[in-house]
């Protein structure tokens, strides 16, 4: 395990101290933490890797470090700053986001993590007309799934935060003012019909109350370009639905507006799940569209790029240590050069390549 020390940095406690010198090294996330912080939101291939290696290790990389630096120095009196992680496919945006989330979770922020906004604009069945606003449409399934995960991630806050209004669900049920947020979430989970509204309420309450300073709110949305753009959903009469007409999207849009303070908004663009966007697009302008770009306008873009040589080496070392690369040539310099060329240091590609080595 002397070898392990080379690439690993077991730093549960020292996460706050991730600095420049740790760039390129992996750090370990204990598995219980994983379940608590990431009930949803890890990319599926990474989940498989975690299962195989029986441990979760993320690489510390520059974009994440940069973001952490900003987050550590946020001034909570100012309106929330928006950070947009963008980059080509497979460069590591989602995992960087997960790194940030883990950091903030350790710092005891409240995490509002939407794993993939694209899931909300395509392949939905059961669209109901919203009970709250007749114009809009509900998505009970997606909402309830998200509420369950949200509950797992933020258990301890749900009892602390109190709602500041009375919400009437239907004739028999209502939530009184001052009752904990957990009740709203429960309501959404049990009564699937009201799940979307529950989500809307959660978002509204959190936004309102984060300014009060009880907690810090981190809004993390993956695939935020789904919020503006088109959906693949249609009504029964085959007329297309615009994103605004979906209640979830509408509320989420309100969330990423920077009219509240006490936290930060970290967003990722993703072409992989997006609908109707060309494969090669990765710049914010292209993926968000004019509308999205204007709405998000003052934001800090952070480019996530392919591995640099040091990171590449480190990644290969990690795989070798876990005996993932079984090919006899994988150890040699030639083998590494081959992998370099083929994957062109793209983390996603490298991972896929090594999958059958």
């Amino acid at each position: 395990t002397m070898l392990k020390g080379m690439t690993r940095l077991i730093s549960r406690v020292h996460k706050a101290k991730h600095g420049e010198q740790h760039e390129g090294q992996h750090y370990n996330i204990p598995l219980q933490d994983l379940k608590a912080v990431f009930p949803h939101g890890l990319p599926p291939r990474f989940v498989m890797q975690v299962k195989t290696f029986n441990e979760a290790c993320l690489m510390v990389r520059k974009p994440a470090l940069e973001l952490l630096h900003y987050l550590k120095n946020t001034n909570f009196a100012h309106p929330a700053v928006r950070y947009v992680l963008y980059g080509e496919k497979g460069t590591g945006k989602t995992l960087s986001l997960c790194h940030i989330i883990h950091f903030c979770a350790k710092q005891d922020w409240l995490i509002l993590h939407i794993p993939d906004a694209h899931l909300w604009v395509k392949n939905c069945r059961n669209l109901l007309q919203s009970t709250y606003n007749k114009q809009r449409l509900d998505q009970p399934l997606e909402a309830s799934i998200w509420l369950k995960n949200f509950k797992t991630a933020n258990e301890r806050f749900l009892s602390q935060i109190k709602v500041q209004e009375k919400y009437v669900w239907n004739k028999r049920e209502s939530t009184e003012k001052g009752s904990p947020l957990g009740e709203v979430v429960e309501q959404g989970i049990t009564r699937v019909r009201n799940a979307t509204d529950a989500v809307g309420i959660v978002l509204k309450e959190l936004k309102r109350q984060s300014s009060s300073g009880i907690f810090h709110l981190l809004v993390a949305v993956d695939g935020v370009n789904a919020l503006w753009g088109r959906t693949t959903l249609k009504r029964e009469d085959k007329s297309p639905i615009a994103p605004e007409e979906l209640a979830l999207i509408y509320n989420l849009r309100k969330m990423v507006k920077n009219d509240w303070h006490g936290g930060a908004i970290v967003l990722t663009l993703s072409q992989t799940g997006s609908v109707f966007k060309p494969r090669k697009a990765f710049l914010p302008q292209e993926l968000l569209g004019k509308e999205g770009f204007d709405t998000l306008d003052p934001f800090i873009p952070i480019l996530v790029s392919n591995y640099n040589p040091k990171e590449f080496e480190s990644c290969i070392q990690y795989y070798l240590e876990n005996s993932w690369l079984q090919h006899e040539k994988a150890h040699t310099e030639d083998g590494k050069k081959e992998l370099l060329f083929l994957s062109n240091t793209n983390p996603g590609q490298l991972e896929r390549l090594c999958a059958y080595l």
């Binding site: 080509e88 494969r279 090669k280 030639d334 050069k337 081959e338 370099l340 060329f341 083929l342 994957s343 062109n344 793209n346 590609q349 896929r352 390549l353």
Partner: protein, 376 residues
């Protein structure tokens, strides 16, 4: 052909059937004979005529089987071909005197465009000697005596060839003995360059001699020729032997023409092209680089998302162990995804030749430079 069989007798139909592959002249002759029969009338007369005609044509049947085209027929065909060639030249507006076979082929392909996949089924116009299979003329005269003195061996041309070769060997040995007797014999044996040629194969020899050979015959003949080669021989013998050798074009040597690299802005690079299916690629390989490849302006990772294509690109470098040492900028168009990858690979391989001249032979044999021609 079947119509006459209806009202003529069975014998006639049999004869006509035999003569199915007969030339026009023969056919007309028989037809007239058959018509003459019909016109005679009574059954007995027909029978008698039939009988006589059978007898008179008996010999001819045996000859007919072997010789399907008469010499006259072939001569006529040659004349017709030449006249046709001149007509074709006039039609195409070219000079009839200098109208070659390639011109004919092109003209026919132009006038009769055919979409058939089987090239041999398309319309052709070639010299009759290439179209009609070679046959032997009747080998015996009117009285039944054969012309060739070796006719009764069964393979006259083969044995006469063997005689000729052996005769030549004896001549050369006699000449050598004379020289030795005179003391002018020199031991040097000039070895002709036999590398670029090969002996005729058995099928080719059979074609020349127009008779079937067995394997032993063929081996015997080749041994004889080799024995002739070992002796010191003069010009006439040389010519005789060369008749039986075919040259092998060494394809690999033919192909390789690498332009020597040229410089620009102080960077040495080389440019070359490659093609595969219907994709054409032009690659510019820089001598010193870090392994960056850009295709049509975009990075190769974005252009070829499939790993297989990138492996194709990698192959030339990998083979020469120069993975991270060259930069490439290439343009490609046409074809599909894999075809473009193959075309770029070919272009890169050719371009890399200029930097790697010593290993090119090894490389070529591996096939990375050969342009791939696959049918269909």
């Amino acid at each position: 052909m079947a119509a006459p069989c209806v009202f003529c007798g069975k014998a006639v139909s049999y004869r006509l059937f035999l003569g199915a592959r007969v030339s026009l002249a023969r056919e007309q002759g028989l037809w007239k004979a058959a018509a003459a029969e019909v016109q005679t009338g009574t059954a007995s007369q027909i029978l008698r005529l039939r009988h006589t005609t059978v007898v008179s044509t008996k010999k001819n049947i045996a000859a007919l089987r072997r010789e399907t085209y008469t010499l006259d027929f072939i001569k006529k065909q040659i004349e017709e071909f030449n006249i046709g060639k001149r007509h074709l030249a006039n039609m195409m507006g070219e000079d009839p005197e200098t109208f070659t076979q390639e011109d004919i082929d092109r003209a026919i392909a132009y006038l009769f465009p055919s979409g058939l996949f089987e090239k041999r089924a398309r319309p052709i116009m070639k010299h009759p000697e290439q179209i009609f299979p070679k046959q032997r003329a009747i080998q015996w005269g009117e009285d039944g005596r054969p012309f060739h003195f070796l006719f009764y061996t069964g393979k006259p041309s083969y044995y006469s060839l063997m005689h000729e070769a052996y005769g030549k060997i004896l001549d050369v040995e006699k000449h050598q003995n004379q020289l030795r007797a005179q003391g002018l014999f020199s031991e040097k044996t000039k070895t002709k360059d036999l590398i670029g040629s090969r002996w005729l194969i058995k099928e080719e020899l059979e074609e020349i001699l127009v008779e079937k050979l067995s394997d032993q015959d063929y081996a015997h003949f080749i041994r004889l020729l080799e024995r002739l080669l070992t002796l010191q021989r003069g010009g006439a013998e040389e010519e005789f032997v060369q008749r039986f050798r075919r040259s092998i074009t060494i394809q690999s040597k033919k192909q390789l023409i690498e332009p020597v690299r040229y410089d620009e802005q102080g960077m040495a690079f080389s440019r070359s092209e490659g093609r595969r299916k219907s994709a054409e690629a032009e690659a510019v390989v820089y001598a010193h680089g870090s392994g960056r490849v850009s295709v049509n302006g975009t990075h190769y990772l974005r252009y070829f998302p499939v790993t297989q294509d990138r492996e194709q690109l990698m192959f030339p470098f990998h083979f020469l162990d120069r993975l991270g040492k060259h930069d490439v900028a290439c343009t490609v168009s046409g074809g599909g995804r894999a075809a473009q990858a193959g075309a770029i690979r070919l272009a890169v391989a050719r371009a890399l030749c200029t930097f790697v001249t010593e290993e090119e032979v090894e490389w070529m044999r591996q096939g990375s430079l050969g342009q791939e021609f696959r049918q269909g």
